[in-house]
Symmetry: C2
């Protein structure tokens, strides 16, 4: 069956543009070369900035013949890379491809090499390198003047020479590869930046909330533990409901747990660290921390759900909590989860007025207050986690 290379190429280019994982992209391209042109093996030497080297990352083709991926690393001074990086070698290419057969014929034409010892040396070294990779055609991929990669192709399965249109196909593909790779790299860069920003945001929130924790002698480490418990409970609930966890909910819960006590910044240290029981006035002052936390975060538009978590984490299921006396399902889920995690950690930690509960005692207490203080679904999830040794 004849292959319509123009059509193949158009289709390849069209698919490439939407593949933003460089490795997936390369795998697709190599697969299409091996299948359409029927070469024994195909690989790509790909530039890796962090190592300033060209690496064979992925290869396709028959076992035994193909270049082992990951093992080959060429620095910019190795012959084949130098060959493609020097503009003056362009006339030695065939419409953009370097053929082993062409190198051989140049090297045999002794006269043409007189006075060109450097070129001869480079050709000999390049030939040796291509042979070590069992490669008969190499095609460079440039983006502007940068060599992004080199396509390394083995012989055709039928051992015949490559046809003109096949070489053209490789060269056009290598050009498309360069653009698509550049696109994919840009994409990957943006995605990494998003990850980095998210991490920075969480880490900073964590550091600041830990510092605020540290002010309150009795809650050191409390915020980190509440965050851990909240996330575990949420995962348990979404498993029980057999629902795919909603990424946004988990992100919001994470931040809300870290910031749930942020309002304590506004409570005087003398009250926070008081040894002995609190007066009504002092208790009132402490209770204000929920509303105060919401007020601190209020100007931040993207923290809508987070603010609900902070504001309502002291509401009770029976409506007797604060600041708004919400009850039942009117309490936002994010706040109801933090409430259970917060109380559990408070119970198993020492407090000025009593020593800590055991985990078992704290779970009994959660159960006792299920339906009055706590949302029963969430208590159920906490108990189930405890039974599995995960709380």
């Amino acid at each position: 069956m004849r292959v319509n290379y123009k059509k193949e190429l158009e289709e390849a280019a069209r698919n490439m543009i939407l593949v933003h994982k460089p490795h997936t992209l390369i795998r697709m391209i190599l697969r299409s070369i091996v299948r359409k042109v029927k070469v024994e093996h195909a690989g790509i030497l790909l530039y890796e900035k962090s190592r300033n080297s060209y690496i064979v990352t992925i290869t396709r083709g028959k076992l035994g013949t193909k270049i082992p991926p990951g093992l080959v690393r060429l620095d910019p001074h190795s012959p084949i890379i130098r060959f493609f990086s020097q503009k003056e070698n362009a006339p030695l290419l065939d419409d953009g491809a370097l053929l082993l057969s062409k190198i051989n014929s140049i090297l045999q034409d002794r006269e043409s090499l007189v006075g060109k010892e450097d070129t001869e040396k480079l050709l000999l070294a390049t030939k040796f390198q291509m042979k070590s990779f069992d490669t008969v055609v190499s095609v460079p991929s440039y983006y502007r003047d940068d060599l992004l990669g080199v396509l390394m192709l083995g012989e055709k399965a039928n051992k015949k020479a490559f046809k003109r249109e096949e070489i053209d196909f490789f060269v056009a593909l290598a050009n498309d590869v360069a653009m698509a790779l550049r696109n994919a790299f840009l994409f990957e860069g943006l995605q990494l930046e998003i990850e980095r920003n998210k991490k920075l945001f969480l880490e900073t929130t964590m550091a600041l909330s830990a510092a605020i924790d540290a002010k309150d002698h009795y809650t050191r480490g409390h915020t980190m533990r509440v965050t851990e418990y909240s996330l575990a409970i949420a995962r348990r609930i979404s498993n029980d409901k057999n629902e795919k966890p909603d990424g946004k909910f988990f992100e919001d819960l994470h931040v809300a747990s870290l910031l749930h006590d942020i309002g304590k910044i506004g409570v005087p240290e003398s009250i926070l660290n008081k040894n002995g029981s609190l007066t009504d006035e002092e208790r009132k002052k402490i209770n204000e921390h929920a509303l105060m936390g919401a007020m601190i975060l209020e100007p931040i538009r993207d923290l809508g759900s987070v603010i609900l978590g902070v504001k309502h984490h002291h509401e009770r299921y029976d409506g007797n909590g604060y600041p708004e006396g919400l009850s039942g399902e009117k309490i936002p889920l994010i706040a109801a989860i933090i409430s259970v995690a917060d109380s559990y950690d408070a119970m198993i930690s020492d407090r000025p007025y009593r020593c800590a509960f055991t985990k078992e005692q704290a779970i009994v207490e959660l159960e006792r207050c299920s339906g009055t203080q706590f949302n029963p679904h969430i208590v159920k999830a906490a108990i189930s986690l405890y039974r599995r040794g995960e709380l």
Copy 2:
């Protein structure tokens, strides 16, 4: 001169993949259609998710003939959009393009329309809509099953009918447009997410630092003002040096200014808010805030330079500052800038032990301490800002 459409198309596709601003991309495509095929005008109806409508955003061609951009908004029920959204209309297209001439010939063939009143109605309405846009060819762009846009083309400048290869060019271009648009939209989405994340990070840092500020009765609003002054000084310095401001430096300076006093979280309120002069012991406690701030942020890898700013904002140019007694250019620039901004704001604000300086007095004081307490370059920048009324 004959146009090689295959070549044009390959080149267009190759350029498109790296244009990540949808509007730039569309402008490029329309320009190439108008120039290569010589049509009187070309426009694109582009789907906008937020308005669930197709909008003519950009048009190219002769004034007077082209569709006015921005004014035309078609909802999904308008004839031309419905036409391309219904799969059953595919047979009425010519290799993917809808020709006004074809609509006319179908409508004239009365017999073929018997029992197909709906189709006839839609064709009549579509014809009317194409004519109102002065359009003779419409080409849809799909991504999977979604209609992303419709190319709307006027007559050829020479009034002749479009050739087969020209229509093919439009259709192929419309396909590429769909992929490139999808790519550009994805890109835009990632970039928006990066912006949103950065904003969230800054806003949260701002809210928390403002809350910590609020604990210290004498510094309310101090952090926001120091941040403003620091950034203004840095802009002034990079203007003076005629350097393009380094985005990363400004971002770090922004965050470091917001967090410079974060270590005050660890200073007892009784000392922070003391009325009257401080004992040596209390002064020592307050001075610890620089090191304490650096310790709080220490686990956050991406905040390397920020931490330097927080840690060293009380160093002095003559080496008599704290915590490390660094001097001269050994003090990181980020910290030296915050030091001047911080002192300036402290001077022009009321303090328990003295009333505020005027701005003029504060500037005289900065100048007096230039080269001893402060880096002279930075004082110079602050003075220049003050003279322009920008500090």
